[in-house]
Subunit: 507 residues, 2 copies
């Protein structure tokens, strides 16, 4: 029996041997130890060098675009258009983090000078954020670039100044290896110390990695089940470490009355596109859509069905995603009072891992947690609601999510204002008159949500993702020569809070 | 058998019945439910009202200063001078958080306008931090004000906009009740909603509290043992919540060669004062002091002993602290190669919980983790080191701490610069030419450290303590009327990052 990793083309079901051996324990240990060694050397590089490193990684990925996209297409079944877009997003993200590193606000530099205070004479105290140490990164199957080897966790951990060790995803080992190679070459060109980047293969190596005393944090995007396994390994550690997990999300979408009346068809079409894009395998896919009951809801449902029927059959990422989707689909379609409007629980039986889109429907009065399990694939449950009170009650059956979406017109605003606090309490991002898929990568973005969407306040999208891999350090009465540049009195290259007053950087 | 709580005067050992009943489960549940209700109402109050609330709490505490200090003195054995200073610090801290709430930088408001980007057209995204919900606060025995009912956890959770439920400390129930009453009156004057503040009594009530689904986070200052108990209860919750614990700290202090030569006696006296202040019951007490071996070290040791012999016997806080201190003292004095310079492992046998100061000594070559257990009381271990390499090796036997202290002169700086990265990796605050006790309450302060000092990056001192009780929320394409004031285009009252550029507030 071969011990090497295999990979499967979901478009055809063809399984091939990658020739990649799972990383043995002693090799994992050596990789972590090199990362620990790299940390000290990274600290001696100026902040601007780190920004250049991120740019070099982006450039190296761009240079290998064709082979990366081809490799990922064969391992994920995602289209070349989608994968090209994802790779562009990934390199854009690396460069955005480079900008943020140059800007320096993420350091949260603060200086309180010595002096008389209402508490008497007080010493000089200065504070900024410093790297925490090697970060282990576990990517997801559905974003082979943006949430995998070269994704947001890797970018933000490197931006913070930490070495990164990625665990190659079992569903796209060749893409992981090719992405890692691109990063390695980029890091070499930038003159990064040995051990700045590392990769391990195989589930046992992943467990070894998160249990290693040299690892300081874990970034994870994936299923609650895999997270629970890693969490158990982390709980066995002598020294606890943060585990940032993006886990699951149902993403309710609510159509208000006037919005349905004015532009119901456009919303139905947009919803269908958001549910079927990437075969519904997006953490922000809207899984449950609430629509005002009545004739308008019937029309809306027919429009969603028509639009989703027209969508090409989706190819799921791998066997595990397929069996999870089948299980969720079965559970949902057999839940009380559910009506099936499109598709059936039967397998298509075609080539590879193709599935047809599914539309289910239930009335809000019947909604229970059994109706709101996450179905990772092209499925949406339409929920008819009679009034706002019933809507609010039904929303309690929806697990807290990464996003909540509202379609509203001006006339709906008074009603929506009343329920917004309750909705905001259950999500990390509130989307108005749009769709939650297609997460903008930008300074103000936040990708996270209350449990079980994520197990921490932040995940890997948006500039504050960097903060997860930093810790505060305070210097009291330090001689100037021992202070980091950014905390010296004369330095003005980063925003700082001086004696309580925020000062912007000066060129 | 009475079920009411008792309290003991550590100065005399006299135990009295407080008449306070432990809070039954259904009352705990009702208190949490009121807090959940208060959250929504608090969200409707403007930010400036919250600042006024914190000021009102401070004023109400100040008004009751005499009775609070007397009550705390009788329950803790701490001096009136120390307790008055602590109460001043506590009200100062409330007012500092009020200033921070008015200033608004803690919201981290950010706006990315819609527009063309390298990723194509992108929607408007705005983000700021919002309250997470009711916070449970567990204070410590050694700071009956500053780290108890009206302390930093309470102040920062309220500053964030959350209701707070405190668990009264079993060693100072009357002080807890009197402090809570002061807060309650202040909150009432400020017009705070019912349920903004709550208090529970007894260990079972504390467990019930942290297990309640309505509680969103826990702030804790105390022993690793008590933290482990609460952690286990939290781990049983369906929905995990953050647990911010300040746990233990040994706080190494290092004297460099030239510093010893130039001002050894002053350092010895300062160290003795820092070790014996508040009978050594401070989380930042320097527990291990490294001194260059040789004749200078002998003189230094004699000076420390002389200064500590002169200190009045310390009265420990309670039986539990006494027995822990005795156990640690015994373990340390019986550790290999330890020499006892002052005091003995015998009990003084005097009134109440008085103990004498202890000075132990060992050579760095002999130092092991058995020599560096935390002794919460007036004890210091002097460690002679031959050279920098030996010092670094010996420091590995010291658990990571809240602080590390260095006494250096200019001639020492080149050597210290070489070892600073290793020292910085083991502490949250590096103190130069001072003592770690007496934590400045200010914007730049940080009170936390790598495990086992704390189990998270932040604790309750310094303005960023507020962030622990906030979560990010993003609004995408939101109608202006549904945005919080701070995220509307025309608003300029708080610092904001707009399209990536940091802008200070305008008056």
């Amino acid at each position: 029996m071969s011990r090497t990793l295999t990979t499967t083309d979901p478009r055809t079901g063809t399984r091939t041997d990658t020739g990649i051996e799972p990383t043995p324990d002693d090799a994992v240990d050596a990789i972590v130890e090199r990362a620990v060694g790299a940390l000290e050397q990274l600290e001696q590089h100026p902040r601007t060098w780190r920004a250049d490193l991120l740019d070099a990684l982006a450039a190296s990925l761009d240079e290998r675009r064709d082979v990366l996209v081809d490799t990922a297409a064969a391992e994920t079944g995602l289209s070349a258009v989608r994968l090209n877009g994802e790779l562009t997003r990934t390199t854009y993200q690396l460069r955005l983090f480079a900008d943020a590193v140059r800007e320096g606000g993420f350091l949260e530099a603060a200086i309180d000078h010595a002096g008389e205070t209402p508490m008497g004479p007080q010493p000089d105290v200065r504070r900024m954020l410093v790297p925490i140490g090697p970060v282990a990164v576990f990517g997801s199957s559905n974003f082979p670039f943006a949430f995998s080897v070269p994704g947001g966790d890797t970018a933000s951990a490197l931006a913070a100044g930490n070495p990164v060790i990625v665990k190659a995803h079992s569903a796209h080992p060749l893409t992981s290896r090719a992405s890692y190679e691109a990063l390695r070459v980029g890091a070499e060109r930038a003159g990064a110390p040995q051990g700045t980047l590392g990769i391990v293969y195989g589930q046992a190596a992943g467990s070894r990695l998160v249990g290693h005393p040299g690892v300081a944090a874990v970034g994870f995007t994936g299923s609650l089940g895999a997270a629970t396994h890693l969490r158990a390994v982390i709980d066995e550690r002598e020294r606890p470490i943060p585990f940032y997990g993006e886990l699951q999300s149902v993403n309710p979408l609510i159509v208000a009355e006037e919005a349905l009346r004015v532009r119901g068809e456009a919303i139905a079409t947009g919803l269908a596109g958001s549910v079927t894009g990437s075969a519904g395998q997006l953490c922000t896919k809207p899984g449950v859509a609430f629509v005002p009951a009545g004739a308008g809801a019937d029309v809306f449902a027919a429009q969603v069905v028509a639009a989703m029927k027209d969508a090409a059959p989706g190819v799921l990422l791998n066997d595990r995603v397929l069996s999870s989707f089948r299980a969720a689909e079965k559970e949902l379609s057999e839940a009380p009072a559910v009506e099936s409007l499109l598709g059936s629980a039967e397998d298509l039986g075609g080539e590879g891992l193709a599935v047809e889109a599914r539309v289910l429907r239930v009335h809000a009065a019947q909604l229970t947690p059994a109706h709101t399990v996450e179905a990772f694939g092209p499925l949406v449950l339409l929920v008819d609601y009679d009034d706002t009170a019933q809507l609010l009650g039904a929303l309690e059956a929806v697990p807290d999510s990464l996003t909540a979406t509202l379609h509203v017109e001006d006339d709906d605003l008074p009603t929506v204002a009343g329920i917004l606090p309750q909705i905001a309490a259950t999500a990390g991002r509130i989307v108005f008159n749009g769709y939650p898929t297609g997460v903008r990568v930008s300074w103000a973005q936040h990708h996270g949500g209350p449990w079980p969407a994520t197990n921490s306040f932040h995940t890997s999208v948006g500039i504050t993702a960097i903060r997860r891999f930093l810790r505060p350090l305070a210097w009291q009465s330090a001689p100037e020569s021992l202070l980091p540049d950014e905390l010296r009195d004369g330095y003005r290259g980063v925003p700082r809070r001086v004696d309580g007053v925020l000062e912007v950087a000066q060129a």
